[in-house]
């Protein structure tokens, strides 16, 4: 899926003190990180916040990276964990009404997707995805959009393959029901 040798060289260059190697790693993975976070959170501002957090973690921890897993798996792991934690915090804030409705609607307006047709499509899809529980959504996104195998997802999430398949199954079933309801 990714050029592992190149990742290896980039990480080693960064460890050796070449800061530009980090920039190349960011350029290589920034869009995947963004889209994973975006699909998880359903809006640009939250996704951007997660991207910045993930890149900061990457910058601080990359020097200790030992290639026990591939770099992209590790990056997905950080992105996935951060996204889920972010969603939990956000839900908590909403529960205690710290996030008011105005800031929520502002978040939905601000975007870096400017093409109107694409944006409308994205809005429709995000509405469906946001109705899934975080864990199901995570598996669904990693499997359907990032096209990772269950073994890779298991490495990222730390869950068993059986459990992931069950989560995926429930996620798809719910999505199909939601699509059907929307069309009706």
């Amino acid at each position: 899926m990714t050029d592992t040798n190149s990742d290896y060289e980039l990480v080693n260059s960064f460890i050796a003190g070449d800061e530009s190697a980090f920039n190349r790693i960011v350029m290589k993975y920034q869009q995947r990180i963004y889209w994973h976070a975006r699909r998880m959170t359903g809006n640009h501002l939250d996704a951007d916040e997660i991207v910045q957090e993930v890149l900061l973690v990457l910058y601080n921890k990359l020097k200790n990276f030992q290639f026990k897993s591939s770099l992209y798996t590790w990056i997905y792991k950080i992105t996935s964990t951060r996204s889920i934690n972010y969603i939990k915090k956000k839900n908590l804030r909403q529960f205690f009404s710290i996030d008011d409705n105005e800031s929520v609607s502002l978040k939905s307006k601000e975007d870096v997707v400017k093409d109107i047709e694409t944006k409308e499509k994205l809005d429709r899809l995000e509405k469906v995805l946001q109705k899934l529980p975080a864990k199901q959504k995570e598996v669904f996104i990693l499997r359907s959009f990032d096209e990772l195998s269950y073994e890779e997802i298991s490495e990222i999430t730390g869950k068993s393959v059986g459990g992931l398949k069950a989560n995926y199954f429930h996620a798809v079933k719910k999505i199909m029901e939601l699509i059907k309801d929307n069309e009706n």
């Binding site: 920039n23 960011v26 350029m27 920034q30 869009q31 963004y34 889209w35 699909r39 991207v51 910045q52 890149l55 900061l56 910058y59 870096v112 997707v113 400017k114 093409d115 694409t118 499509k121 994205l122 429709r124 899809l125 469906v128 499997r143 359907s144 959009f145 398949k165 995926y168 199954f169 798809v172 079933k173 999505i175 199909m176 029901e177 699509i179 059907k180 069309e183």
Partner: protein, 202 residues
């Protein structure tokens, strides 16, 4: 129509060849099943079509400079909690030191005041209160002897005892209680008994 679970297994590639062939036959015969599959595939295609090119170029270009700025900011902020913790610790230690030093001085001076005039019950309460906080090492032998005398005076005044009787109580710690009791005459014993009997202790 209810969602057919087989669609999920089929799309996810979890069917073996036989199941797959059977399901495809089933699909041919069921327009509704076909429609369910079409809708779901459309959803996936739409989602995938919202791809990387949809993002504004400027956002991606700005990502690294923003990250660098944020990293610098965090680096500066990193020292603030440590500094605050250090300042708080030093302040607490200073306050504790000052309080403990002043506290001992206050206790000691208060006690000296108590021994110089022991007449009212308020003084006795002060003495009792402060005596719990005393460390014998804080006082000289003369001071301790002074306290003992004061205490003896207080006891004799309270119990209306003769100096001789008082000796049995406060003479020294080596005096055996049995000997002390044997030394009391009947009148003294009655006096003590009556005093204790009518004394409001609490």
């Amino acid at each position: 129509m209810k969602i057919n679970d087989k669609i999920i297994l089929y799309v996810d590639g979890q069917m073996n060849d036989v199941d797959k062939a059977n399901f495809e036959k089933e699909l041919e015969g069921s327009p509704e099943l076909k429609e369910q599959l079409r809708r779901y595939r459309q959803f996936l295609e739409d989602m995938k079509s919202v791809n990387d090119s949809a993002l504004e170029e400027s956002y991606l270009v700005e990502m690294i400079p923003r990250l660098r700025g944020r990293a610098e900011e965090k680096k500066k902020l990193k020292y603030i909690p440590k500094l605050a913790l250090g300042t708080a610790t030093v302040s607490i230690l200073l306050i504790a030191f000052v309080l403990s030093f002043n506290g001992r001085q206050v206790v000691k001076s208060s006690l000296n005041n108590v021994t110089s005039s022991v007449t009212s019950s308020g003084d006795i309460q002060s003495y009792t209160y402060y005596s719990y906080q005393l460390d014998p090492n804080d006082f000289s032998k003369d001071e301790i002897a002074n306290f003992d005398t004061t205490l003896n005076t207080m006891i004799s005044q309270e119990l209306s005892l003769s100096p001789q009787s008082l000796n049995y109580i406060s003479a020294d710690n080596n005096t055996d209680l049995k000997n002390m009791l044997q030394g009391l005459n009947e009148k003294e014993a009655d006096d003590i008994y009556n005093q204790i009997l009518h004394k409001k202790i609490f």
